[in-house]
């Protein structure tokens, strides 16, 4: 926050949530702020609902491939990436599960999520304890607009991004009969920019096709582990600082450099419009088509979903 900017007052519900976590931290001697753990390893905590959904199962498979691959990369530097899995049974249990991953398992990055409320609770605990939470499930715009924290990063695109991409796809449709277009964040038929290699590796590892949630899970691990190797530290504070930095960028086999937007901590990324013909053949188009535009990729991607002009998190970050 810069001089002269004021942090908005939290609403009543947020205040109560924060107060209850503060009490939990105060009365539990076992809860400590996440810190650099001795030993050259990054511990990632997987946090997903106990009741398995399609999204959570897909994300889990992506996270597992990500940990396997980044573990191999880290080994080249005599470092490690490990995964601890915990599942929550309810929204109220989500915060305790997050705290346990940080406190007991020494995870400094949590990856997963649930519905808006569950994500909010996990994010609050992470912010309080200084661990990074990478949401790969919830598309809630409200979550991105109100829960501003540099410790909360969204890899799964927001609902607003999907809606923007749908509108763009409709505008770009060539003359002819209208075709139904489904907007996705990944598709198993993608080939360019190393996408076919990633789809192949995922297929060999998970014995299923890679979906958007799988990609988000894989991407979150990749971004976290890569940050860990580049900064040489595994504490949540350093990792959050690096991942939010304006100059930090990642590759996710989508062609464009991917980075987190300052105003909603959302990963900049192209989406895809999938049309399926009567014979079942899918045609996948980039939306927006960054490669064909003469404009800088970042500028184009910033127009997807909530724009910077909404002035969301810049002044409200915790």
């Amino acid at each position: 926050m810069t001089d002269g900017e004021r942090k908005p007052l939290p609403d009543r519900r947020a205040f109560l949530r924060t107060a209850s976590y503060a009490a939990a931290v105060a009365f539990s001697p076992r809860i400590v702020r996440a810190r650099t753990i001795a030993g050259p390893s990054l511990t990632i905590g997987l946090i997903l609902p106990e009741a398995e959904t399609g999204a959570s199962a897909d994300a889990l498979a992506g996270i597992q491939l990500g940990v396997e691959e980044t573990g191999r990369s880290a080994a080249l530097f005599q470092k490690g990436v490990t995964l601890t899995k915990r599942f929550f049974s309810s929204a109220s249990n989500a915060s305790l599960t997050a705290a346990s991953l940080i406190r007991d398992d020494h995870a400094t990055v949590l990856i997963g999520g649930g519905n808006e409320d569950e994500c909010r609770r996990i994010a609050d605990v992470c912010t309080m304890l200084g661990a990074v939470f990478m949401n790969v499930i919830s598309r809630s715009d409200a979550l991105r607009r109100s829960n501003c924290s540099r410790f909360l990063l969204h890899v799964e695109p927001s609902a607003a991004m999907y809606a923007s991409a749908g509108r763009l796809a409709a505008e770009q449709t060539s003359p002819g009969p209208p075709q139904d277009c489904v907007v996705v964040s990944w598709h198993p038929s993608l080939e360019r920019y190393g996408a076919s290699q990633l789809n192949d590796r995922f297929g060999a590892s998970a014995h299923r096709a890679m979906t958007g949630y799988s990609w988000a899970g894989w991407m979150a691990v990749k971004a976290a582990a890569e940050s860990f190797l580049r900064v040489g530290a595994n504490d949540g504070d350093t990792l959050a600082t690096y991942m939010n930095r304006e100059t930090t960028q990642f590759d996710g086999h989508k062609g464009a450099p991917l980075s987190f937007r300052a105003w909603d901590h959302q990963l900049r990324q192209p989406l895809y419009c999938v049309t399926t013909s009567g014979s079942g053949v899918s045609t996948v188009r980039d939306v927006p088509d960054v490669a064909r535009s003469p404009r800088p990729a970042r500028k184009i991607l910033d127009e997807l979903g909530d724009a910077d002009s909404a002035g969301l998190c810049r002044v409200a970050d915790r």
């Binding site: 691959e69 980044t70 190393g194 590796r201 450099p257």
Partner: protein
């Protein structure tokens, strides 16, 4: 034979030798990934003199140090598994015939040959390893674990070090050719594709496609010392080649369909030359005056005059040209 006569004969032989050398035909070998073939182009007439069917996806392609053979990395379309299609094909430059297929490990993409011509190092993309292949026996003699999705391969001018880039892990692994072990790994800019050494071996250059940059590496420490941004990060370099005097680096920007001229004295971009669509492979003529790019989406080769920084000819080749190398006959 008197000493004077011997000197005169040597001088005559030398003159004829040089004339013969200059009259050797310069041939450009282009690997066509989709048409599973090699187009052989006479650079003087800029016409195809032969098309060699190789039966599988042809990607990395390099001439041997003695100029007698051309090696081509072939792979099949079956991912994550080595098959009979995954090979290094050997082409005899004199006859233009495919004379052997060597083992290569799974899915070979790029490779480089040691200056003594004895060993070839290939990146095995889907296996995450690099294979060392003995070019006398045609057998894999060592496999070394490198980063995820390895691609670019370069060997230092003294033949001691092999740099292997890995696209997904953003790493470069350094292999010691004496032991075939990885002795160092370092991180570079995002999505590294190709590597090249300076002629004196003191610097290495790594193209980063998504990062839109060239990473300059000190080979004494195996650490990046500078990043040169191409077209404000919007250049998307894949293939790179360094001039023989070490003063220039030429980078083929696949997605922006251009070649960047990078001044290595100042480590900055001096010019950008538009070429055909999606250039990946790039090669420099022996006299250092001409560049060639393999343009994967326009199915052609751009011929660039370095002095004027202009494309002076375009040569149609096979489908999805990937790489190219120059040989002499």
């Amino acid at each position: 034979m008197t000493r004077q006569l011997a000197i005169v004969m040597l001088a005559v032989a030398s003159i004829f030798g040089r004339t013969a050398e200059s009259q050797r035909r310069e041939l450009l070998y282009v690997s066509n990934e989709a048409s599973h073939s090699i187009s052989v182009v006479d650079t003087r007439t800029r016409s195809i003199v032969r098309t060699i069917d190789v039966g599988f996806r042809a990607r990395g392609i390099h001439v041997s140090p003695d100029g007698t053979r051309v090696y081509v990395a072939l792979s099949d379309d079956v991912p994550m598994k080595e098959s009979s299609g995954d090979r290094i094909a050997v082409i005899d430059v004199t006859t233009g015939k495919l004379i052997a297929r060597y083992s290569s490990g799974s899915d070979p993409e790029q490779f480089a040959v040691t200056p003594d011509g004895k060993t070839l190092y290939a990146s095995n993309e889907d296996a995450g390893i690099a294979s060392a292949i003995n070019l006398r026996s045609g057998k894999v003699v060592a496999s070394t674990v490198v980063g995820i999705e390895p691609e670019g391969v370069a060997i230092s001018p003294n033949g001691r070090w092999v740099y292997i880039t890995a696209e997904t892990s953003n790493t470069v692994s350094v292999i010691d050719t004496r032991t075939n072990k990885a002795v160092s790994t370092f991180l570079v800019d995002v999505r590294p594709r190709a590597a090249a050494f300076s002629p004196d071996g003191k610097r290495a250059y790594i193209s980063a496609e998504v990062g839109g940059s060239i990473t300059v590496v000190s080979t004494a420490t195996n650490q990046p010392i500078q990043t040169i941004s191409l077209e404000h990060g919007e250049g998307k370099p894949v293939g790179i080649v360094v001039s023989r005097d070490g003063k220039w680096l030429y980078a083929a920007n696949g997605r922006t369909s251009s070649v960047s001229f990078v001044n290595l004295t100042r480590n900055e971009v001096a010019a950008s030359v538009p070429v055909g669509r999606r250039p990946w492979g790039i090669a420099l003529s022996r006299d250092g005056r001409t560049l060639y790019t393999a343009n994967g989406l326009s199915n052609d080769v751009s011929v660039i005059d370095i002095a004027s920084r202009k494309v002076i000819a375009t040569i149609k080749v096979g489908n999805r040209p990937w790489g190219l190398t120059l040989g002499y006959r």
